[in-house]
Amino acid sequence: MALSNKRLSIIKVVFSLSFFAFLLAVYFFASGQPVVSAPVLGALDYPATHGVNRRLAVWMAAQMHLWFAAFVLAVPILVLILEFIGVIKKDKRYDRVACEFLRVSITAFSLTAITGALLLLSLIVFYPQLMKYLASIFGPTALFYALFFLFESATLYAYYYGWGRMSEGSLKWVHLLIGLGLNTAGTGLMFVANAWVTFMMTPAGVDVSGVFNGNLWEAVNNHLWSPMNLHRFIANIAYGGSIVGAYAAYRYLSAANEKERAHYDWMGYTSSLIAIGALLPLPFAGYWLTAEIYSYSQQMGITLMGGVFAWLFIVQAVLIGALFLAANYYLWCGFGRGSYGERYLGYVKYIAFVIAICFLVWFTPHTLILTPTEARALGGQYHPYLGPLGLMPAKNTAVNIMLLFTFLSFLLYRRSHRTPTVAWAAYGKAAQAGLFTAAVINITFLGVYYGYFTNTLYKVASSVPQVATTLFVIVACLVIEAFMHRGAERTEFRWGRMPGRSQYALLLIAVSFTWLMGLMGFVRSAIRQHWHVYGVMRDASAEAFTPSIAYAAKVVSIGTIIFMSIIVFIFWLSSAGREASDE
């Protein structure tokens, strides 16, 4: 086994170096290109594909690469955090689980590079003119990309293979430093790739006639670059946590003994906590991204939220509703791990009711697609009573309240194994209840007043104080909670006692996340409509039309099944490798 591991490592290193060389070649090719204006393309500028649907091929390669990339960028972040907590708490459990996380993802690194190479190749083959134009602007960034890739590969192998050797004393800190380097390189890679993608949506440094006359930094730092970086960074963490949670859930269901079950229960809880923790700020990063889209082009913003894609956000609401309900359900099932969990079960129905109402508000469409007869019967495209719920202020209000009540589920879960003993505990709880109530009133007031009684331009702006309210209450309640539970009466969580059905909540989160990422990837790209580079370089290929949501859903579903199948295979490889090492 040791020999095959060594061979595998050699193959990975050779592959990484080949990919690095490939990227360097792209850089040198690109750096030789003169800066040109965006070409006006005709159908003949696209090579014949002989029955291959060029857009579908690029779409699938891009989506696979994004899923793998999100996973392998997120896992090292989780691993580093867990390793650091383990060092601070002097708890070896964190270290073990961190190492297992990394083992799960190690094979996915090679697959990320393979799908990345496939994407690059398919773009060069199917869209040569677009790549030529982008390379003429972004050529030098390919060098950064290649260097980040090389550094990431080197630190990854050092981090993984050095885990055992650098486990004690000052070497442990060196190991943590390597982990930090790995994460910095990974995040840098993502930032570089994001620059290319966001330039295609919101090109900067281009004059009205489409000639690029800006500098490289202008092109990189375009309207969407920063919000996209933040959104993807947070989403990757949530996604990585959810995939590892699904792995733990599967291992929990297949556990051979109590010890194994307890281990995977703890692993599932830890990873899902990270996933849910990252899920909480994600809608806010999404608002920033959307606001920047509107800021760049009202037309693009309206296409996104009010045009043909309006219904896509209803599908998104269904998925996010499912994510929140599954996350809450998992926490409610977790009440059984603590000795005092039973006393909070009565609150579950109320929390579930509020979350369901918020979900329904989010689910309400803005405009309805009606026949003329139906529209006449209804008195317009909007429902007379439910219509206002379709607007963004109502949805912002709903999502903030949903987040607050998910946080409440978490708070109750944490209390299921401890009882405060400080004299002021009753006042502390009253203060928390007061904060919650005031927050719900404030969020609702802001949503109703700014959303329905002011100019349209201020409607979405009301989301900022709403978000601030939510974040303030979460932080304030956590601070009160921490002080209130100093010296509290505690019992240990009984790991491994979760019902089997709770693990399906973790699986639901992972599958929903994967599907949701595919769907949102589609809409992000589709709002460019018939443009390669929005407003600058028009797509003249036969596939320039915007696909329908139904078509996109089928593509995303097929992609999800392929991706999940590969992930299951990776999990199998990981566990097979571990069993062989144990032997």
Partner: protein
């Protein structure tokens, strides 16, 4: 193996449900085909110019996306040509136009020259317009189309259409 099959079946069922909902439950909407890059012929009469303006206003120009009561994102333009004449005389007007027609042209190609209070880009204190220069970006109108829009706005405002079908030396000098 039993657990593996259960987990696989569950995952497939979840994916199937999302697909079913997206394909069969929500209304089927097929986005419009990309607009064709047609060569705009110079209108021969004022009526043709106004007709072209209306078609650009509601189509390629994408004006009606924002300039509607429902969207509420930009000023309504039903009386734009009348208001334009009054606006250039207001003390708050800081643009360069000296007549109503020039104001409309300026609003199309340099929208930030003057921003109607309450309609500036977020955080700009009404100094920057969220509207793009209609000659660039995804809109890309040519001079004939811009003049056609001005003619259309004059027409719906109920004032005399002062734009000639083809640019004369006089209008060129005004612009």
């Amino acid at each position: 193996m039993n657990n593996f099959l259960k987990v696989a079946a569950f995952s497939l069922a979840v994916i199937g449900l999302y697909t079913f909902y997206s394909v069969w439950v929500i209304p089927p909407i097929n986005p419009e085909a990309p607009p064709k890059e047609a060569v705009v012929e110079e209108p021969a009469t004022v009526d043709e110019l106004v007709e072209l303006g209306e078609s650009v206003y509601n189509g390629k120009g994408a004006c009606s996306l924002c300039h509607t009561a429902a969207a509420g994102r930009a000023p309504l333009l039903e009386r734009a040509a009348v208001i334009a004449g009054q606006r250039i005389k207001e003390p708050g007007y800081k643009g360069n136009a000296t007549h109503a027609e020039g104001y409309l042209y300026e609003s199309l190609v340099n929208p930030s020259a003057y921003v109607v209070p309450g309609f500036g880009a977020s955080g700009s204190a009404d100094k920057v317009s969220p509207m793009p220069d209609v000659r660039g970006s995804s809109i890309g109108l040519n001079e004939t189309e811009i003049r056609a829009i001005i003619a259309y706005l004059q027409s719906i405002s109920g004032v005399e259409v002062t734009i000639a079908p083809a640019p004369t030396e006089e209008t060129k000098a005004k612009e």
